[in-house]
């Protein structure tokens, strides 16, 4: 089967959002928690084989690898009704079971140790697919396992499957609850380096923004992880919808992300979704036009990245991909795009085409939705660098005081020096610089003044 995608769920966060993602996929494809096809779903034209494979006994099994260094989350998954969904051989829990202790270095170094076992699983999974298109990584960048193990696996994936795409859904830490993990700037910085260098595409899921949206837009006074995660799973499922519901275009992952990413490093995408409702909110079915949806997607309040709302900055869109689901008149798409461009609703880079792609996708026929049309925006916006800058700032603050570094020094990587941190900072700084450079017309000649780090 073409374009199979293997999902890797790493760490607590990764496994949780992964779990939600699979739940969502199952319901969209009419697959029961046991992995069997529901009676009503036998006639579907959807493609389940991108994310699932079929076992001999007609069970649909996710192409998913669950990795964690501590068993808590995976155990809870295995105690859920979806326990039988997963291939038990794809679940790896570190035998130590101690986790990474929110330490990137611990996660990374443990990754080295469990490399063989993990890549046995991944290799087997890759061998089991006809034409593997790539990997999707779910993790957070602030914790230990998701960031450390994730970074390690990213690097190894790049070595091992150099031609496969690696897309990550990376959860950025909630700045409002920074006290949770004080070393998160270190973790984030180190992970960001790997995300910059080894991933092909990073979908940024900013916990800060997600929480704000949950409280402000969805009016949840104290949003739970599962509520946030359902938002995330929604984004994940929609962003893969075109792969799963084939149509004329956007049938492969590369096709989806390639136009979004102008140069290899500017591959951090922010997301926006509309309409934002919770399950409880049963709104009457609203008629929404494509233009409405696209306009709303451009509004900052629907963006799921906590970037400062500074209108004076030069930040601009590099490219946009709108995935629109529902009953849409395709001819309206063109008109809507024209209007958006004419009215300059979105500021675009000065050096390139104002690339707004629109992918129309079907909705799952098995899920009732209150909205006829919904849209997900995947945007490459230079403003994303604000997140990285924030990380850099926080890192600098911690680094100035040499705070919490002893935990890192325990690991081999950092025993001799902290060059890794410096190098990471360098990479992230360059990334920020490149994003800033991309806001100016000079970006075309940007390489002339920039020292080469890529070769």
């Amino acid at each position: 089967m073409p374009c199979e995608i293997i999902t890797l769920q790493l760490g607590q966060c990764g496994n949780q959002i992964g779990f939600e993602f699979w739940k969502k996929l199952c319901s969209e494809h009419g697959i029961s928690p046991e992995g069997t096809l529901e009676d009503y779903a036998t006639e579907g034209t959807d493609r389940k084989d991108v994310f699932f494979y079929q076992a001999d006994d007609e069970h649909y099994i996710p192409r998913s690898v669950l990795l964690d260094l501590e068993p808590r989350v995976i155990h809870s998954i295995m105690n859920s009704p979806y326990a039988k969904l997963y291939n038990p051989e794809n679940i790896y829990i570190s035998k130590q079971g101690g986790g990474a202790g929110n330490n990137w270095a611990a996660g990374y170094s443990q990754g080295e140790r469990i490399y063989d076992e993990v890549f046995d699983i991944i290799d087997r999974e890759a061998d089991g697919s006809d034409s593997l298109e790539g990997f999707v990584l779910c993790h957070s960048i602030a914790g230990g396992t998701g960031s450390g193990l994730g970074s390690y696996i990213l690097e190894r994936l790049n070595d091992r499957f150099p031609k496969k795409l690696v897309q990550t859904y990376s959860v950025f830490p909630n700045q409002d609850e920074i006290s949770d993990v004080v070393v998160q700037p270190y973790n984030s910085l180190l992970t960001l380096r790997r995300l910059t260098q080894s991933a092909d595409c990073v979908v940024v899921l900013d916990n800060t923004a997600l929480n704000r949206i949950a409280t402000d837009r969805l009016h949840l006074s104290n949003p739970s992880f599962s509520q946030i995660n359902s938002l995330v799973s929604n984004i994940m499922s929609v962003s893969t919808a075109t792969l799963r519901y084939p149509s004329y275009m956007n049938n492969d992952l590369i096709g989806l992300i390639a136009p979004l990413i102008p140069t290899p490093r500017l591959h951090f995408l922010m997301t926006g979704y509309t309409p934002l409702t919770t399950d409880q909110e049963v709104a009457s079915v609203r008629k929404t036009t494509v233009l409405d949806v696209m306009r709303r997607l451009l509004q900052p309040k629907n963006m799921m990245v906590s970037t400062p709302l500074d209108r004076n900055t030069q930040h601009c869109y590099i490219s946009i991909l709108n995935i629109i689901q529902g009953e849409v008149d395709p001819t309206q798409v063109h008109k809507s795009l024209q209007r958006i461009r004419e009215r300059k609703m979105a500021q675009f880079i000065p050096w390139g085409p104002a690339s707004i792609q629109v992918a129309l996708s079907k909705k799952s026929p098995y899920i009732q939705s209150a909205h006829r049309v919904s849209g997900l925006m995947l945007a490459n916006h230079t403003n994303i660098s604000a997140l990285f800058e924030r990380t850099l700032k926080q890192y600098d603050k911690l680094r100035k005081r040499e705070a919490f570094l002893e935990q890192f020094r325990k690991e081999n990587m950092f025993t001799e020096n902290l060059d890794e941190l410096d190098a990471s900072r360098e990479v992230v700084q360059q990334l920020v610089d490149e994003y800033v450079a991309a806001t100016t017309p000079d970006y075309l000649s940007w390489g002339l003044t920039q020292a080469s780090t890529e070769s």
Binding site: P2, P246, V333, S355, Q357, V358, L360, W446, G447, L448
Partner: protein, 989 residues
């Protein structure tokens, strides 16, 4: 007139019999009679004049009775009461004789009476004593009518005394004449009769058989002669010039005579009475053959005979009074010949039934005309009122005008009847009739023509009827406007488009400015489509082995069937009724309707059982095939069948009266036929399409083709083209077989059952090269004439295709991003590395009706277009400079190029950005086509199938949609400029 010969013979026989003459044979005495002798001729003339002019043969019993009664009254007035009494009693006795009772149908008694009356000359003046002689005799006379008497012997006995030459026959005549009235009497009774009936001088002759003096004899002869001549009506057309008419002395009555004298032309002109002329006029109109007054000239057309004139008019005036009749006579003659020719169907060559029906319609009109003429003749004959030629002309004028109109139409309609095909003839006929009705101004004429039209249309209607009902286009004479092209089989993809053709000779259409064909098309054209659809639907359904109409459950089945048959059967009738109703709302239809309803049920039943019952009368007329099969035996029964069965409709048609000018016949017929045909069409179309969609999955085939050729099934096609591109990039050749296998493998996932129908063919590379080489030249030439609209498609191919190529080339070389736009523009698609791939879809019947080769060709155009789009975007998306084989070489040569183009990193960066530009552009194009072209098409087609219109609509709509696709993909040569094209041209500039 047909019985003329027999009549003559009988007359002669009568004369010889009555006179006792026998044809003289060898060695027989002179008194034996010889035909052609003057006396015989005279007697013949006498007999004929009596028979022909006094109508003893076609007797009116009332008139005779009245005359007898009048005679009796006359006797009474004259004081001859006894005679009167006797006459009455004799007559009644005579009439009461059992012989006549036995043969009441012949009216012999009245004939005899009338003859007697006629022969009696001034009965009141016959001396009384002689009457007494008669006294008892007449009764016996009649009583022994049958008795055989040897008249010849008897008469010869009586005649021996006179051997006197010319007078002899005269007396014989008188004897003869009284003999003729008293056929079968014996001598005494004859005597009595003579006394009663013969004029006195004749009696004298008979009675005074003493010694007449010469003078007396001469006088007798003269008297006899003058009596005879007075009594003999000579046909004025006979070889003998009849005696001058006893004209009145009034100069007005003798104008001709006066004129002749004046001109010195006495004797040149034959004098005719107005009465004679009138009657002859009526006769020739009844049967247009050359007659005395109206003769045929050399050209075969009617003209007035010279030297004939009315006594009261000058010859000029006469001819001017009669000339107007010549033309109608010609016309009538032609029409009659035509009608005679097309009275019966024939097999070789088959006569178009339409023409036959038309002829029958004409015949009906002719009958009407003739009956009018007969009425007129009766009136003239009776002389009860004053009838003049002018009056006659007035009576005839409307008829003649109608005749002229009919003839005008007829001649237009049938000029080509022989050379052209029956179809053309029929269509032309109907068209001309239509035209005729439309253009006629007089409502009466319109009515006549409409009736003719309806008659002629009947065959068409019956064809339509059987076609609608039974799905068979029975048209053995090849006259129906729609023709089944037998070369197109039902499972041919051209079936829908070409199975039925509306055949019209194109050249004919152009030549006539006012083309009758167009007229018929005007009301048939809305039907033609519907009809062919019905026909095709029927045929398809039959082949699909599906009941044309879904059967209902039993209880309602019967009533339904009945309702249907009523509806079905009455196509002709319904149409005609409708026309009739519209023309004039008549209430008389009710009774007939019932009659028809019962007829129809019978008909319908027999039709429905489709067995031997075909032979029932009702169907015979309707079924040309049977006519063909039973031609020999049929023709006789036809005559009986016709009045009994067909007349229901014929009479319906004939009941239609005048058509006001305001009613357009074309629209009338259209509105009469359309609902019926449309209804049937709707039913069948709905049925067909539901069968096609439900059982044959027409939509699924269509979907499969779309999925593959328009790449709607993005995933499987992605797999296919990825494979293809990978092969191309690796430098492996592509061949049809492996591609076909791969394609089928891909498709099998989505359409396991349809995958086998797909195949790929690749045009060999060398062929392609030569072709494209030529193309390049052409393109360059076209590019010179810059804004040439027709190469819109090339613009895209060039731009997108070459962009990919350029980038590839650039990337391979690792050189900087500046690519040469000039060379790119002239780079055709095939050169960019795409083989000329065609995907065939062997659509199984009946899906091939929709997915014809032509359509598939267009789909393939679109496919290649798509493929090139995909090629570009696919290549650009996947482009990773670091993965390229030349990457290492570039890295190594970094030092050499450093000076010229800046640091490698920067060059790479710019390359990346270029890629981004190109990708963005190609994606934009790709998305544009996807969103504004292919997806709307998808929706449109889905909607089309969901709404389940008629197959025709689907085919037509589908083609329109595909054409629209091509246009919107900038591949058509239409003049419309799409916005995209403007943009692209700007880019090019």
């Amino acid at each position: 007139m047909a019985g003329q010969g027999k009549f003559d013979a009988l007359t002669k026989e009568l004369i010889t019999h009555v006179l006792g003459f026998q044809l003289r044979k060898e060695g027989q005495p002179a008194q034996y009679f010889k035909e052609g002798e003057e006396n015989f001729v005279r007697s013949e003339q006498f007999v004929l004049s009596n028979l022909l002019y006094h109508h003893c043969l076609a007797v009116n019993s009332h008139a005779v009775r009245r005359s007898v009664e009048g005679l009796a009254l006359k006797f009474t007035i004259h004081g001859q009461h006894h005679r009167a009494q006797q006459l009455t009693s004799l007559t009644s006795n005579f009439l009461a004789s059992p012989l006549f009772q036995d043969h009441f149908q012949t009216d012999v008694e009245w004939s005899l009476l009338s003859l007697l009356l006629h022969l009696s000359n001034s009965p009141t003046q016959v001396p009384l004593q002689e009457i007494q002689k008669v006294a008892a005799s007449p009764e016996n006379t009649e009583d022994e009518l049958q008795e055989q008497i040897d008249w010849a012997v008897y008469l010869r006995n009586g005649e021996t005394k006179y051997v006197l030459g010319p007078e002899e026959p005269l007396s014989d005549w008188s004897v003869d004449s009284d003999c003729s009235d008293n056929e079968g009497n014996d001598a005494t009774q004859l005597q009595a009769c003579l006394v009663k009936n013969l004029p006195p001088y004749n009696v004298e002759i008979v009675c005074s058989s003493k010694q007449p003096t010469t003078r007396e004899l001469l006088e007798q002869v003269h008297r006899a002669k003058s009596w005879l001549s007075a009594k003999t009506h000579l046909q004025y057309w006979g070889p003998k010039r009849p005696q001058q008419l006893p004209l009145s002395d009034h100069p007005v009555a003798n104008v001709l005579k006066l004129w002749e004298e004046e001109q010195g032309l006495r004797g040149l002109y034959q004098h005719l009475t107005e009465w004679e002329v009138m009657r002859e006029v009526l006769w020739v109109l009844l049967c247009p053959v050359p007659s005395h007054i109206f003769i045929l000239n050399k050209k075969g057309s009617f003209t007035l005979k010279q030297n004939i004139s009315l006594g009261s008019l000058t010859p000029g005036a006469t001819s001017s009074l009669l000339e107007y009749l010549c033309e109608p006579l010609n016309q009538l003659h032609i029409l009659d010949v035509f009608m005679h020719k097309y009275e019966f169907p024939s097999m070789d060559p088959p006569k178009p039934a339409t023409i036959l029906a038309y002829a029958a319609g004409l015949q009906l009109w002719r009958h009407r005309f003739q009956s009018t003429l007969v009425t007129l003749e009766d009136r003239v004959k009776k002389q009860e009122s004053t009838c003049t030629l002018l009056w006659l002309e007035g009576e005839l004028r409307p008829w003649l005008r109608t005749l002229a109109s009919i003839f005008a139409v007829h001649s237009t309609a049938t000029t080509t009847i022989l050379e052209k095909s029956p179809r053309y003839t029929a269509v032309r006929l109907l068209g001309t009739l239509c035209e005729g009705v439309e253009s006629a101004s007089d409502s009466g004429i319109r009515g006549v023509l409409l009736r003719l039209l309806l008659h002629s249309l009947r065959h068409y209607l019956s064809i339509i009827h059987s076609w609608l009902l039974h799905g068979t286009l029975v048209d053995h004479a090849q006259e129906f406007i729609i023709q089944r092209d037998e070369s197109v089989k039902a499972n041919d993809e051209r079936f829908w488009g070409e199975a039925f053709t509306v055949s019209l000779q194109k050249d004919e259409q152009s030549s006539d400015a006012k083309d009758p064909m167009k007229t018929i098309l005007r009301f048939l054209s809305p039907l033609v489509v519907a009809l062919t659809t019905v026909g095709k639907s029927r045929e398809l359904l039959a082949i699909l082995d599906v009941q044309p109409l879904p059967k209902q459950s039993n209880p309602c089945n019967l009533s339904r069937l009945k309702a249907e048959t009523e509806q079905e059967q009455s196509l002709e009738e319904v149409v005609i009724k409708f026309v009739k109703k519209t023309v004039r709302a008549t209430s008389s239809g009710d009774i007939e309707e019932e009659v028809h309803a019962s007829n129809n049920e019978e008909d319908a039943d027999s039709v429905l059982t489709e067995g031997n019952s075909h032979l029932t009368l009702g169907c015979k007329q309707e079924d040309p095939l049977l006519i063909a099969a039973f031609t020999d035996t049929y023709q006789e029964s036809h005559h009986f069948a016709t009045p009994a069965t067909v007349d229901s409709i014929t009479s319906l048609i004939e009941e239609i009266s005048d058509v006001p000018r305001a009613i357009s016949v074309v629209s009338l017929l259209t509105s009469a036929l359309c609902p019926l045909v449309k209804k049937q069409q709707d039913i069948l179309s709905a049925r067909l399409i539901s069968v096609l969609i439900e059982k044959n999955r027409l939509d699924r085939h269509c979907q499969a083709v779309r999925s593959v050729l328009l790449m709607e099934a993005g995933d499987i096609m992605h797999e296919f083209y990825s494979h293809l591109f990978a092969k191309l990039e690796s430098g492996d050749g592509v061949d049809s077989i492996s591609l076909t296998l791969h394609l089928q493998y891909c498709i099998a996932r989505l359409y396991p059952d349809l995958a086998q129908f797909f195949s790929v063919s690749v045009t060999p590379q060398d062929l392609q090269d030569t072709r494209t080489g030529k193309d390049i030249i052409e393109e360059n030439e076209r590019a010179v004439g810059s804004d040439d609209r027709s190469d819109g498609m090339l613009v895209i191919e060039e731009m997108t295709g070459s962009c990919a190529k350029t980038v590839m080339v650039d990337a391979d070389r690792g050189c900087t991003s500046h690519h040469n736009n000039e060379t790119a523009l002239s780079m055709p698609l095939a050169r960019v590395g795409l083989p000329d791939i065609t995907i065939q879809y062997q659509a199984p019947w009946p899906a091939n009706l929709l997915l014809t080769e032509a359509i598939m060709k267009k789909f393939n155009m679109l496919f290649r277009f798509n493929l090139s789009l995909k090629r570009v975007t696919n290549g650009l998306e996947r482009l990773k400079f670091r993965d390229l084989a030349s990457w290492q070489a570039v890295i190594r040569s970094e030092r050499n190029t450093e000076e010229s183009g800046g640091p490698l990193q920067s060059r790479l960066h710019r390359l990346q950005l270029l890629r981004q530009w190109l990708l963005c552009f190609s994606r934009e194009l790709h998305d544009h086509f996807a969103n504004t072209v292919f997806l709307p098409y998808h929706h449109a087609v889905e909607k089309l199938f969901a709404s389940r219109p008629a197959l025709t609509t689907i085919i037509a709509e589908h083609e329109t949609l595909v054409n629209k696709l091509i246009t919107e993909c900038l591949m058509s040569s239409s003049e419309k400029i799409l916005p995209l094209q403007i943009v692209l041209n700007k880019w090019r500039a």
